[in-house]
Structures are given as C-alpha cells and as structure tokens.
Amino acid sequence: MPLVTRNIEPRYLCHQPLPNSIQSELECVTNITLANVIRQLGSLSKYAEDIFGELFREAGSFAIRVNSLGERIDRLQVKVTQLDPKVEDVSLQAINLRKAFKSSTKQDQQLFCRSSVPVPIDDTYNTCDKPPPLHILTPYRDDGKDSLKFYTDPSYFFDLWKEKMLQDTKEIMKEKRKHRKEKREVSNRGNLNPRKIRTRKEEWERLKMGKEFVEAKSTPEETLPNSNEICHNGSIGSDGNEDLVYRTHGNYHDSIIPPPASPGTDLPPPPPDFGYPMDVQKDSSSHKRISFGSPTIPPPAPPPGPPAGVGPAPPLAPPPPPPFMGPEGHMPPAVPPPPPPSMPPVQFNQNFHGVDAPSMPPPPPPTDQFPAAPVPFISSSSGGAGGPPPPPPPPPPPGPPPPGPPPPPDPSTLSFSNGPPPPPSEPKSKASLPPVSDARTDLLSAIRQGFQLRKVEEQREQEEKRDRVGNDVATILSRRIAVEYSDSEESEFDDEEWSD
C-alpha cells in the first residue's frame, strides 16, 4: 500500500463547521477557506524545505567524492609524468612482487531499514500508536530476553536467516575439514576406500535390528587404526577429537549445536572405521568417530548434554573432579574424561600454526570450559537412556573461543596448564603457572557452579561472536559463499579467514 510521503495539511479547505452565531455565512466560509489556504502554504513550504534539504545533502556528498577524485587524479598525473622518462623494470620478479589488483565493489546495504526512512514518513509513522510498553517488564524476566520481542520483533526474520547462514557455513566448513582429513588419511593409508564402503553396509546391517542390539564390532580393520575406537554401545567414542579439531578452527560453533540425537543413540551411523565422518551435519554421527593420532580421546558430545546439563547438574557435582585433573592418558571407555583438557592441546596445536594474534585469546577460553565441561557430562549421565554414553560437554563453544574479553575464570586458564601443553603453548602456561594451585582448589566449587558458568560462557560467546561478526547481510553471505566455493586447502588460511 503506497504511503503518501508529504501530505499538505488542511486537505479540505471549506469542510469546517461554522459557528452558529454568524449572520453572513458566505463571508464566514470565505474567511475560513482563506485561513486554510494560508495553512496549506505553510505546510507546502515545510515540505519544499525538506525536499531541497535531501537533494542538497546528496549533492554535497557527491561534491566531496568529486573533490577527492580530483586530488587522486592530480597525484596520478604527477606520478605518470615522472614515470615516462625513467627506465621501467620489466623483470619477471617485479611483476610477481606486485600486489594483485583487487577491485573493491561496494555493495549497498541497509537501504530500507528504519534509519534510512525519509523524515516525513517517519513523522507519519510516529503519529501511530506505539506498541504497549512491555519493555518495562524486561528486568523481571529470568532468561534476560526482551519482553517486547514476544509481542513484536522487527529483527526476527533477519536473526533467523543469520542463524541459518551461520549454521550452514559451519556445516560446510566441517564437511571440508572432514574431506581434507579423509584425503589425508587416504594418502596415508593407501587402499582404504573399498573397505570403507563395506563397513558402512555392515553397520547398517547391524543397525537394522535396532540400535540397542548392536554389539561391539570386533573386526580387525577397526582395531587396526584405532585403539581409540570404543564399542559402539554408546560409550565415549573417540571421534570427539576430530570434532574438536574442526571446532577449534571454526570460531562460531554454538554450544547448543550438539545434535538432537537421543541419549540412548549409542550407535549413530558410525563413521567408517577410519574415522571418516559420514555425515557432517548429523548429529549422532558426529558423536562416535574414530580419531587418529590424537593424543587424547575426548568423549563425543551428546546432544542432550548441554540442554539437560543445566537442570540436573548440581546433584552430580562430585564425579567429575578426579578425571578433570588427568585427562591425558585416560581411555574413554572407563570414565568419560572431560573433553576440555583434550581440547586445549588440540586447540593449541591448531592455533599456533599460522595465527599469532588470536592464539592468545584461545587458551583462556578453552580453559573456561573446564568447569563447564563436567557439568554437561554429569547431566547427561544422569539422563542417559541406553548404555553409559558419557555426555561430553559440547566442545565447540569452548573450542573456538572468539578473542573476546578475557573470561573471568582466568585461574581456570592456568588449570588447563596441567595437561601436557604442546610446546607452543608452553610460554603461555609458564605465564600462567603461579595461579595454578588456586585454580585447582577452586575446581570443585567451579564444577558445582558449572552450569551457571556455562550459561554465562554461552552468552558471552554468543555476544562476542555477534560483536565480531559484521551484522550485515553482505558480510554473512559473502562468508558463506567463500566457504562454499573456496578450495579450502590450508587450515591456516581458513583460520585467518574466520578470525576476522
């Protein structure tokens, strides 16, 4: 429905009620009409001023651009005249050394948002009734959401789309990482492809009768590459490591991402023995994957972990502390070792490859996960239906911590240094050595408050993520397209790309 931009105020000149006590009505009407004409002239002049103001502003911006262009041309002119007489070096090296020319195409964004609405339409809009003042109720809410958003949320669709795009980019990245790893594995192992296909069918066969009845696989292939592989009865798979590797790269992993698989799904369509992830997106498959060559075996992250973690967390505080301290040599089957310990080393390995700046922030955040990690584990163990699937806390949130504000549990950073820090992480751990003992003593209490910590972390991570990520359509879309169509050969390049 088209809205009139500028409405000249008194629309009907003569449609005014006449006062009763008038003798000469015709004259009265004439005078009233003339007064309205004057009012119309007034509103007309106001709109004319508005129109000319907008045009003037635009022309002014163009004038600035023209001036700067003129200066650039003058400089170029000088430079070109200097160039001509000199001998130009046409060596091949010079050509290669030159910076590749990239033309910057500006994309117009936010064209039709609230802030770009013309003034007269904004005035018209302001004459409407405002929505009820539900924002007064916001401080009384527990979950911290804006009360008005439940009534009317103008950014709802954009948020929805943004979440979907970010999800897609993450999934695409995961797929690429896994493909890359697959290629690496293939090159390491030779003729493993045919075997891969066979095992899939076997697995489906086994699953045919019902997931609960599948027994542990005992084929030589599986035992061969991975001693890490655990019986498929849903115990801690060793694929978590891969997940962690992937997640440490992508800094956008949500803590709530863990697939919706039920706790009892011990046997997600297990990836081939070599730990090739079958289905990146899905959920249950991400759980049990064989991880190669990873020093630690972080338990997979079951979906119910994070959501259920908040509730039953407190009663199950005690179990985690011991495994917490020595994550390294633990095999998953017995007790699900807290994944976070494994994560930082992995993360360090990855982070120290090429990116220096963001490597600092990552160490603190992963350690944040320490208190949080046991909690989801506890909660899921309480709610675990079939088998003893250790509910590893969703590694992603801790894994790719955005280089946001240093997390409050700084001592926890130091607690992390307990694990075998990879050489690059040594300088950091050394710096953090003094408070280590404090972190240890506070560990139990930190675990007990784990779920609270996790909530804060999640929020903080999400906020940081949002602050880092440009909130434009163009940025998000361009990132997603870049991920989709890029040949992601090097993880370092991806790191740089993602670390904004």
Binding site: L26, L55, L76, R98, S103
Partner: protein, 75 residues
C-alpha cells in the same frame, strides 16, 4: 425577489468572486506542489546518474593507481 435581490445578490456575487480568488490560489498551490515533486524526481535521477559516473571513475582510478604504483605506497 426584488427585496432580496440586491443584498443577497450582491452577497452571492461577492461570494463567487471570493471563490474564484480562492480557486486561483489553490490551483497555483497545486502547481507548486507538482513542480516540487517533479523537481525532486528529476534531481534524484540526475544525482543517481552522477553517482554511477563517479563510481565508474573511482574504479578506473583505483586500477590506474594499482598499475602505476609498482609496490610503492601512494602518498
């Protein structure tokens, strides 16, 4: 009607004159409004053309600068 003729007639006459006067004024107001609208539209279209030309020029200058600099920084 003779009795009402003069004063009423005069009044009606006067009223018609007034109305014509008001009509002249309001039609000129409408012409002004029309002029303003068309001026606005034409100005915007010309500014948009200018914008396009400016953008094209800027891109060409960027390219030329890249060709000419040879790795130095443009002051």
């Amino acid at each position: 009607m003779a009795g009402q003729g003069d004063p009423v007639q005069r009044e009606i006459h006067q009223d018609w004159a007034n109305r014509e006067y008001i009509e002249v004024i309001t039609s000129s107001i409408k012409k002004i409004a029309d002029f303003l609208n068309s001026f606005d539209m034409s100005c915007r279209s010309r500014l948009a053309t200018l914008n396009e030309k400016l953008t094209a020029l800027e891109r060409r200058i960027e390219y030329i600068e890249a060709r000419v600099t040879k790795g130095e920084t443009l002051t």
